[in-house]
Symmetry: D3
Subunit: 283 residues, 6 copies
Amino acid sequence: MHAVHPADAMRTRYQEFLKEDIRSGDITSELVIPEDEKARAKIVCKERCVVAGVSDAAEVFKELGAKVTSHVKDGKHTERGETVLEVEGRARDLLAGERLALNLIMRMSGIATQTDLLVHKCQRVNPKVRIAATRKTTPGFREFEKRAVKLGGGDPHRYALDDAILIKDNHIKIAGGIKEALERAKRGSFTKKIEIEVQNRSEAKLAAENGAEIVMLDNFSPEAAKSTASELRKLKPGILIEVSGGITQDNAEEYAAAADIISLGALTHSYRSIDFSMDILKA
Amino acid sequence: MHAVHPADAMRTRYQEFLKEDIRSGDITSELVIPEDEKARAKIVCKERCVVAGVSDAAEVFKELGAKVTSHVKDGKHTERGETVLEVEGRARDLLAGERLALNLIMRMSGIATQTDLLVHKCQRVNPKVRIAATRKTTPGFREFEKRAVKLGGGDPHRYALDDAILIKDNHIKIAGGIKEALERAKRGSFTKKIEIEVQNRSEAKLAAENGAEIVMLDNFSPEAAKSTASELRKLKPGILIEVSGGITQDNAEEYAAAADIISLGALTHSYRSIDFSMDILKA
Amino acid sequence: MHAVHPADAMRTRYQEFLKEDIRSGDITSELVIPEDEKARAKIVCKERCVVAGVSDAAEVFKELGAKVTSHVKDGKHTERGETVLEVEGRARDLLAGERLALNLIMRMSGIATQTDLLVHKCQRVNPKVRIAATRKTTPGFREFEKRAVKLGGGDPHRYALDDAILIKDNHIKIAGGIKEALERAKRGSFTKKIEIEVQNRSEAKLAAENGAEIVMLDNFSPEAAKSTASELRKLKPGILIEVSGGITQDNAEEYAAAADIISLGALTHSYRSIDFSMDILKA
Amino acid sequence: MHAVHPADAMRTRYQEFLKEDIRSGDITSELVIPEDEKARAKIVCKERCVVAGVSDAAEVFKELGAKVTSHVKDGKHTERGETVLEVEGRARDLLAGERLALNLIMRMSGIATQTDLLVHKCQRVNPKVRIAATRKTTPGFREFEKRAVKLGGGDPHRYALDDAILIKDNHIKIAGGIKEALERAKRGSFTKKIEIEVQNRSEAKLAAENGAEIVMLDNFSPEAAKSTASELRKLKPGILIEVSGGITQDNAEEYAAAADIISLGALTHSYRSIDFSMDILKA
Amino acid sequence: MHAVHPADAMRTRYQEFLKEDIRSGDITSELVIPEDEKARAKIVCKERCVVAGVSDAAEVFKELGAKVTSHVKDGKHTERGETVLEVEGRARDLLAGERLALNLIMRMSGIATQTDLLVHKCQRVNPKVRIAATRKTTPGFREFEKRAVKLGGGDPHRYALDDAILIKDNHIKIAGGIKEALERAKRGSFTKKIEIEVQNRSEAKLAAENGAEIVMLDNFSPEAAKSTASELRKLKPGILIEVSGGITQDNAEEYAAAADIISLGALTHSYRSIDFSMDILKA
Amino acid sequence: MHAVHPADAMRTRYQEFLKEDIRSGDITSELVIPEDEKARAKIVCKERCVVAGVSDAAEVFKELGAKVTSHVKDGKHTERGETVLEVEGRARDLLAGERLALNLIMRMSGIATQTDLLVHKCQRVNPKVRIAATRKTTPGFREFEKRAVKLGGGDPHRYALDDAILIKDNHIKIAGGIKEALERAKRGSFTKKIEIEVQNRSEAKLAAENGAEIVMLDNFSPEAAKSTASELRKLKPGILIEVSGGITQDNAEEYAAAADIISLGALTHSYRSIDFSMDILKA
């Protein structure tokens, strides 16, 4: 076991999740299923989607000692009725993993499908635009939700508060202004990028003039975003423009021409799960 | 610290969640906000809902050293614009807790609101019926989602596989039949209830005759559920009837007359978050 | 490693136990035994018993990297002089596991032997009666003691306070009476059984009438237990009767006719260990 | 919290023990006892003993948030009917701690009482003799059992394999003899004592001549122990003599004249618990 | 306790460190010092230095329950004979913290003193130049060593591999060239900076032209560094130049004019500790 | 995994160290190096030394899934240019382990080389003298530093405060004198040695007369050490003499004739790392 591998850090998470579901033991299987009874099972997609979480489900079953065959790679478009995963092992182990495996696939596929839809819409307008998630994720489940966003073609944005400096309205209020806030931020290590959230065009200019490397236009109309972005790029070639706030599946593409990055919280805070099921058979 | 209290077990979870978001440090606040700058903030509801997670948000801020005043109790109907929580402390601490606090309230209020709606619909038909959640929860976040269901007036059902014996279709297939499965289940400790999932009326009868204390009617039409429930109750007075599978916000009340319990996965697998925001001010 | 398996959860416990005994290192073996010296050893039973803990001892040695051959299954009657386990590996590893392996087998065999004796005595009177343990176990060692009870043919009863609702005299005092306590208990999830402890026949009746599924007769004489049990079964067919309090190895069979379950603390709080030893040889 | 204090290391253990008993929650109290109901309780001794574990029980209740008054110090002789501890707090907390508190006091008092008896018997013969425990303790519970031995006036002997070098018969067999084993042991750090187990007088002499600082006479008759001890002390003034193996409550005093230390496993592997109970009252 | 605070994350580390030193208990103090004996102590500087670690030492003693008065702030120049910290509490606690407190102060002051010297030397030449540490730190002690560098006026550089993208010679070899490596790096999230190590001027130019935001000149002579830096800045205004490799306390200032950042491993891999001692008195 | 093995306890440490360096992920390699790209690498010694930490570096790479070939055993004299270790595996894994592996080897070789030098110097004078380390180690890294001392031929002295009783000047002050302190120490378990630190010859005599098994002469001149040692050995044959305080690489051999043990802090508090590098190649 090398818990320092990304794959192994995940193993710890799968075990925590299994522990949450199994707790002190699966008392039903322990009584009803003989200890060494073998079984086979398949996980089947019940509606068209971009599938995500199959590799996680596979790891869950491996964690439980089962043999696993994946039929679809995470990130692929999958049709209703397709088998995405087959597993074989002790019946007790397959039953112990069933619920968690499905919970992972259903949620992650929901997010990947929604992200993919949005990426395609927006990149028709501007092939370089990125669709980014936010930190509005389920507590404890962020790495899975961010990964689902990436599998749908999106940018994960900050995983945590140490990923980059991002000065938001609340910071500015307390620091006493954009200029002062940026001045302080530049005292940090040279290794970190500096982004700042602004509410209007004059703030945006002030930010660009004072060293911001990324400017986040918060709750701008598509038109305001466009003209502001254009002004900033003249002022500071290479500066990055992110639009955020009030962006939905419906209006995102209106921002696509102006922005380098479009970020929206709904990608992770209000997804609908995609339906999958597991069918099990005596081996 | 007494980690054995429900409240303290929660503290560990809040700390894990904060760790996920803060990771090695909030590099922005460390640069931009003076170490001992004080601030006040309020969390405001942006749409009508049954609020849940306010007590969790309060604990998050306490965990960070802030003083907290709650204005609304979890489980209450709350209007747009209401302040649910006020906090006061070091500005850095308030900013460090903001995202997690909102992530908790937004999700839990989404679930509580949806559950409450369903409970009211169904109890108009049968005041004794219970609306129950399933194990289709977000991995690692189950206790919060189950609690939100309870705050919305629902029954949490099994938190984990050790809560009760629940023999599902996959168990029956492998055990070789309902009778055999129940026979084995009864060898367990006398302290545990036995529930079994059935697909049709004759299976339901077989289950009742062989010692099932709760019978789960899976994917029954409302009519089939009604006639089956009535037959079982004659056969075994006191037996409990749960309906599950294919139940939605729309058709749940059609089952309310027949069932003791109506359970549905969508309560926790596809909720929409309720919008809340945090406004911060220099103290 | 899949720590979610019962077997793997145990591995964590064996490691904790080894850690307790080895702490920062076995300084004697590190000096006296060459690093790669191989050895063989056998664990021998020194008195007639129902053996328990052999599978645990085997796991302890596997944990240390040794090869293991079990000669007796847990739960079997074993004679003085029988070898129950053979191990082979690095001499240092066998020596490091010796004390823990013996500590497990000696205690668990002590409990299993005592339980088996009692089960046989009581089932001669009533073949359906169960002998149950209590929560009077050694802190931190409960799962092993409960398992030893099962290996001796007993029922483990509640492993922890979340296994079933059990209303004891102290609860009743505070709740203000049996009826009120049961009323409150019934508000819990439908998935849990309700047991209540009573001090006399009228309390027992009250309990049965108010929804108790199991009634525990505390400190009843055999006669009182018999007449009360008979009255309750008429009142509520299917109700379960547990007798507890003041039951010993000597008087237990007097309760066997009346009770569904006989529970007694001495099974786990005052056992005598069975003697075993380990003999080691250079390989 | 300073987990590095002995007291704080203990706190972790109490929490683990409480966790074992409470697991995911005390579902009975959560339903039957109002959240903020206050109560008082006292723990009463049911038979004459040397009490031990009262300070532990006190810590358990403090861990749960209760106020505690101890009436008896650990290590004191206590009479039947004496109240050893009073607690006051939330009724739920008192009930959650009851079983663990009693499990600790009952076991530890059992050990302390048995040790005290033996110390008195043997010190009547030789006031300098020490009664020592062994490593035959309950896995995971050693520190409590060793402490109970100390409270009864005994010597804890090695807590773990790093406390001192102790060369046993199995080490000697593999090392190829007493002389060779001692030679190797002396290569260790100068900070550690060297003890060796011997089977007869000539081995004992060999051990003393080759640098053993403590010689353990294993399974010697009282007479053989006496003459061997006397010879060794002439040979190496200041050498320590431990007798072990086959020592019981009944024959221990026969060794008291010859030995510096008498060690016996039964102190911790076969104790009888002393009876205590907890009475609770609404506050 | 809020382990999510920087201060609290530190507390965990202090406890681990104390655990390393105290392990199962300070057996000397437990015997020699009465449990509640009070004492006072002061920590005194034995040679001129920039002090660091006083706040850590203070926390160590607080962790042990002592009261603490700091006389000098970390980062200040301190003279021989100055008392930097006074503590008061249980004598056992002061003795338990002594070694760790001194180990922290001695090492951290060593690093801060050496960094401060270098910063002053180089900033006399170029007031904007930064002196940066590397990842050549003691395993498990990096955060303390990096903090000591900051207290001496240096830049910590990357704390870990997730802080920024830094493409080194080994990455370039495997990726197949500077251009290809940078192309791949730019596919990462827009939130991260990209730095690359180069061996000569033409590589440096290639790096700048292909999107590197920081160029690390590895093992350049002062002259080569100067001319390369000047060329890069013309090519890409705002690009950052780091020099590294073969830099010592002696030659660092020769690079100061050319570089934005001078990084050197010796700051943390070969420091000399500064001498401090603790004097204790009965209170 | 058997975490109770010395080797396995180490694995936990390597994982912590890797975690410190990799934290949430090696973002450079994840972008720049294809997931399954294979590579080979060798670690090369850059200056003459006694090498230490090669086995640790090997374990680090194994932990990451690489294959490892060691060319030099820890403790051996190694020349500039020698390859001490070769590794082969996924390029990402080799790069992830590089820094930690080098950090371990560089520091540990520094200590071993310095110790070896001193051992040779002093044993030329007195072949039985031991060079011992102190507890002046880097917090969290002690076991590695102590092991490096052993690899250089030294004695590790106490790893922690539970290894032996060592009464220092601060203990004596508080206890009220050498005699009283030793009296109390002798009440401890018979399994532990008693050492005491003294400031002059009369204290040394007092210590020897009152039961000290090891006397530490603190800050004695070589002459005073010699005459005191000789007097103590006459008084108590077999008593051990340790000199400590003010001992350096330069004056240590002047104490070699008088002492059984020479201990000095600089071995671990002010070492210079030995230079090593890793060269990587596409496989």
